[in-house]
């Protein structure tokens, strides 16, 4: 595990994965979208609105998964000071925030015709909205400090504190009665017909590989930013007059 803490090693693997992840994303969307939008059947109760399910659930899943990745990497950064763990966490946050926003938006567009309301302050919806705000706070806090390392550390602590929310989101529909329906997964398997599970899994796969692809691109950007910072710093060290002239 500590081997991956080395950015050069890490990026060598990441760059090797990138074309596969990107290619798989395109393929999964090309196969999944027509099934989700056209060939899969309408639901016996919800009719055609079930097609929103194929966007809402993958977005919700990725919103939570990406947060979990941020939390684990934040812990690794705080405990072992792995620079790469910090970069993975920071680079993941905007993507996770987009997934969470899409989960909420698609959920509202689904709730209006089925429940009769865009929004209800039940435990599942509220805890998911809180996660979205924690994402925003995490991104803002990380950039709020003059010293980037202090920003990284403050953001990592916020991410860990916010991880308490993850089990609440997951189990909210079991611990309290909610407007939101219970999970489609249980000990007995999935409560979804096979003809609807296929597009669901394809879209979940597409969202996952999309995240991996964008994460690698963002990591390249983060490493470039670090190199730029270093280059600037060494430049200043060589000629302090250059900085004054700027």
């Amino acid at each position: 595990m500590h081997k991956f803490a080395n950015p050069t090693q890490f990026m060598r693997i990441a760059n090797a994965i990138f074309p596969w992840a990107a290619g798989l994303t395109v393929i999964l969307f090309l196969v999944g979208l027509p099934i989700a939008l056209v060939t899969s059947p309408a639901d016996y109760q919800q009719g055609e609105t079930v097609r929103i399910f194929y966007l809402h659930v993958p977005a919700a899943y990725m919103g939570v998964m990406v947060y979990a990745i941020i939390a684990v990497n934040s812990a690794a950064y705080l405990i072992w000071r792995h620079p790469m763990a910090n970069l993975v966490a920071r680079a993941s946050a905007p993507v996770g925030a987009v997934f969470t926003a899409l989960c909420l938006i698609c959920g509202m567009l689904w709730g209006q015709p089925m429940w009769g309301t865009f929004w209800a302050w039940d435990a599942r919806l509220t805890s998911t909205l809180i996660m979205f705000f924690i994402y925003l706070g995490y991104m803002a806090l990380g950039d709020a400090f003059e010293d980037p390392e202090r920003g990284d550390r403050a953001a990592a602590i916020l991410a860990l504190v916010g991880s308490i929310n993850l089990p609440i989101i997951k189990f909210s529909v079991e611990w309290w009665n909610t407007l939101h329906q219970p999970s489609i997964t249980s000990m007995q398997g999935f409560s979804v017909d096979g003809s609807m599970l296929t597009p669901l899994f394809l879209m979940m796969g597409a969202y996952t590989t999309f995240y991996i692809s964008v994460l690698i691109l963002r990591l390249r950007g983060e490493l470039l930013a670090a190199k730029i910072r270093n280059a600037r710093m060494s430049q200043v060290a060589i000629s302090p007059a250059a900085q004054l002239a700027e």
């Binding site: 089925m114 009769g116 504190v161 308490i164 609440i168 309290w176 909610t178 489609i184």
Partner: protein, 164 residues
């Protein structure tokens, strides 16, 4: 030396998370009544509710209880133990039908009838095409519902009661 510092940080993070988790669990348990989205008819019957208080009740719409009179609807919801009569004026959500789980927001009347200002439909976690649902019903493998998830109650076709 460096090793022990990392160890110490690891323990500190684990301890902090444990404390935070325990604290959150305590708070959530204390506010249990405020976090639940609705009360069941049984819970309503066991409480003395003032008519001024706006509350939400939830349960399955009882078979044959829906009476529509223009915009006015009366129906009863049940949690398989107690039932509660509800009157409502307005548009019902598309999923509203007998046997369906619903949540109504409004006030309890002194006559024991609940006056709803808003009716929301719950849907369950089962997704399937109509043919599969029909086949399940025919073969008698239709899952019995629980009041909590608001699944369909009957082995007969749910009767749509919405306007369109």
């Amino acid at each position: 030396m460096a090793m022990t510092r990392k160890r110490r940080r690891l323990y500190f993070v684990m301890l902090a998370l444990l404390g935070l988790g325990a604290g959150t669990a305590l708070v959530l348990t204390a506010f249990q009544d405020n976090i639940v989205f609705f009360f069941s008819p049984t819970e309503i019957a066991s409480q003395q509710l003032t008519p001024e208080r706006r509350i939400r009740v939830g349960g399955l719409v009882e078979q044959g209880s829906v009476v529509k009179n223009g915009e006015n609807v009366t129906f009863a919801i049940t949690d398989m133990n107690k039932s509660l009569k509800i009157q409502y004026q307005g548009l019902l959500p598309d999923l509203f039908r007998e046997g369906q789980g619903i949540v109504a927001e409004g006030r309890m009347g002194t006559d024991g009838v609940f006056t709803a200002h808003e009716v929301l439909a719950k849907h369950d976690e089962n997704y399937m095409p109509r043919e599969v649902a029909d086949a399940l019903k025919k073969s008698g493998q239709w899952h019995e519902p629980t009041a909590k998830n608001g699944a369909p109650t009957t082995t007969t076709e749910p009767v749509p009661t919405t306007a369109q």
